[in-house]
Subunit: 355 residues, 2 copies
């Protein structure tokens, strides 16, 4: 029995993608070579890289003056890389603190200049998104995190930024429409809605490169990777290939607009169940609830393990909340079918009837 995989990431990808990826590990595009043994300088892989890049541009309607890069090191390497590149003229930057990942990004930026934490939701263990703050214009950039997997919160609107706008979209990119032109740098670890762990997507406004610091290590310099079309060194070939398969799947299904509807449908079903329940309650503030990760807990502490075991029995995987929040977390990424959420909701109903 195939599991209902609610894992927060690495996470579910479409069945078709797994199947095609599995085949390519044996025989990639009828070359009689495995995707794992082809040179990254060979034409077939250059084609994969180009297709993946243009699928990203197409699906997110990226303006022409932006570059799409596939790097390594995850969001964690971006934390220091973006600060190293862009804390420059003003020697300071502004961050919105919406949780662990934002805090980690702030920590790395402090090595390169002054960090203004313009607002934080730490007072309520990050269960909401701070609003009503003014971003100083004499700051080199403003940084925010669009979706916070641990707490189940998501920025529904992005603030006006008088300075360069940088966003960590690791856990909700490709899940909803975004206006890329409002951002100067977007980055995302692949392992949610893009592909397997090991690749990092970077979308960067080419115009901001001239504001970047020079004389920094080649691998940490966005300019290097733009000039070499993500091929400065050996890229994570397989992760990029599977990302291509996954983006093709998304495009064929109907693109970001289509998936946003599907994602809302799944999230609405789960949140409705939580709100109508006397046993379960949501952790995040309603207006900031994520359509990717729903965090909730159970009124009766003694039923926690029982509910967890019922979930396991129903084939549900990865439902435990993060240790810093507790309770449960259902991650409903793009590839999750509505049926999996229905299964979860049924188990919730079952324990409620018995309680």
């Amino acid at each position: 029995m195939k599991k209902h995989n609610f894992s927060a990431g690495p996470c579910i990808l479409p069945e078709e993608v797994f199947k095609e990826a599995s085949k390519a590990v044996i025989n990639f595009e009828n070359s009689n070579l495995s995707i794992l043994e082809i040179s990254h300088r060979s034409q077939p892989f250059i084609d994969v890289m180009e297709k993946t890049t243009s699928l990203v541009k197409d699906l997110l309607c990226i303006p022409n003056n932006y570059s799409v890069l596939f790097l390594q090191g995850g969001a964690s390497l971006q934390f220091l890389m973006l600060a190293n590149n862009f804390i420059n003229k003003n020697k300071k930057c502004t961050y919105l603190d919406t949780g662990t990942w934002a805090s980690k990004a702030i920590k790395e930026a402090k090595l390169f200049g002054e960090v203004i934490t313009i607002a934080s939701s730490k007072d309520k263990n990050y269960n909401y998104i701070p609003k009503s703050y003014n971003i100083p214009s004499d700051s080199d950039y403003f940084h925010c995190t669009s979706n916070n997997t641990i707490y189940g919160t998501q920025m529904k609107n992005f603030p006006y930024s008088p300075t360069n706008m940088i966003c960590d979209m690791s856990s909700d990119i490709f899940s909803r429409k975004i206006d890329v032109s409002k951002f100067d740098l977007i980055y995302a670890g692949a392992q949610k809605n893009l592909g397997p762990a090991g690749a990092t997507l970077v979308i960067i406004n080419n115009d901001i490169i001239k504001e970047a610091k020079h004389n920094i290590p080649s691998m940490l310099d966005y300019k290097t990777h733009i000039e070499k079309s993500s091929m400065f060194n050996t890229p994570p070939v397989f992760s990029i290939y599977v990302s291509m398969l996954n983006l093709k799947w998304l495009k064929n299904k109907g693109g970001v607009k289509w998936i946003e509807e599907k994602n809302k449908e799944k999230a609405n079903l789960l949140y409705k169940t939580i709100d109508e329940s006397n046993l379960f309650y949501g952790i995040a503030e309603k207006e900031d609830r994520s359509i990717m990760n729903a965090t909730f807990t159970i009124n009766k502490k003694n039923l926690e393990e029982k509910f967890y075991n019922m979930c396991v029995k129903a084939g549900i995987n990865g439902i435990r909340g993060h240790r810093s929040v507790g309770g449960f977390r259902a991650s409903m990424y793009n590839a999750m079918p509505l049926e999996s959420v229905k299964t979860l909701v049924e188990v919730m109903g079952e324990i409620e009837r018995k309680a």
Copy 2:
């Protein structure tokens, strides 16, 4: 027909490894989950990481005071990371320049301190390994590259270093016995004898951490990764998993001692053919010839394309030399069967008889 894949990297891995990896993309260890969708914090993946690490320790007989890490970013990220960590007290370091990769490592190190290039073989387009030089003891470390894929040269012996010894072993690690205790830091991109592109192996003497710089970004600090057992952030799950499969294969076959004999057998066959030929000649100095990458060229320039086409017809892949050297390059990594080298040698014989 399965190809004879002489690609310089990413490169051939054993058939058994491709088959098992392909299965795991659909169903990982009968979990009904793909290896691509499991959480890196789940016990099954923690087990994979631990098994891979202990296989590395076992196969290379690594002393207890060393850590084995799996990072991202390839050797290129190590170039700056090692310099950033270890150019410290003496503010200078010493490098042996044996080619493009060594030169790239030198370039990055210059951003962090003074670099002494103690010897170089650039005068002969890197077709030999410089010997007879004395490494200054007031240098923070000595850095060398054990095998140079582009030129087909390999260090048969390593010099005595009065300071910390750092080696880029990207293209020959696991191919021959090495005495790890003579090195303080060894690093290698996975994509030759370890696994698919996307993971970087680091073997580090824990004792040298106290000599490292502090206050550097978390992701660039070896201490971070040692403390978190390579799990500071999401690791490249699939690349590590396939590395585990590959190292298991190597161990079951007989380990590094066994593969070294096999590698010598393959290299000897090819070099013997080159030396006995009137048409082909080797590019690297005989005493420095690599058992991983043989570089050779053809006397009659007009036969170059003919030979290449005959190779393609025989199912031989990836035989073109690097653009900076020209001619041909046969990379004979661990997983290459002797039969593939025999096929190549037969084609060489065929064109020679006709020439």
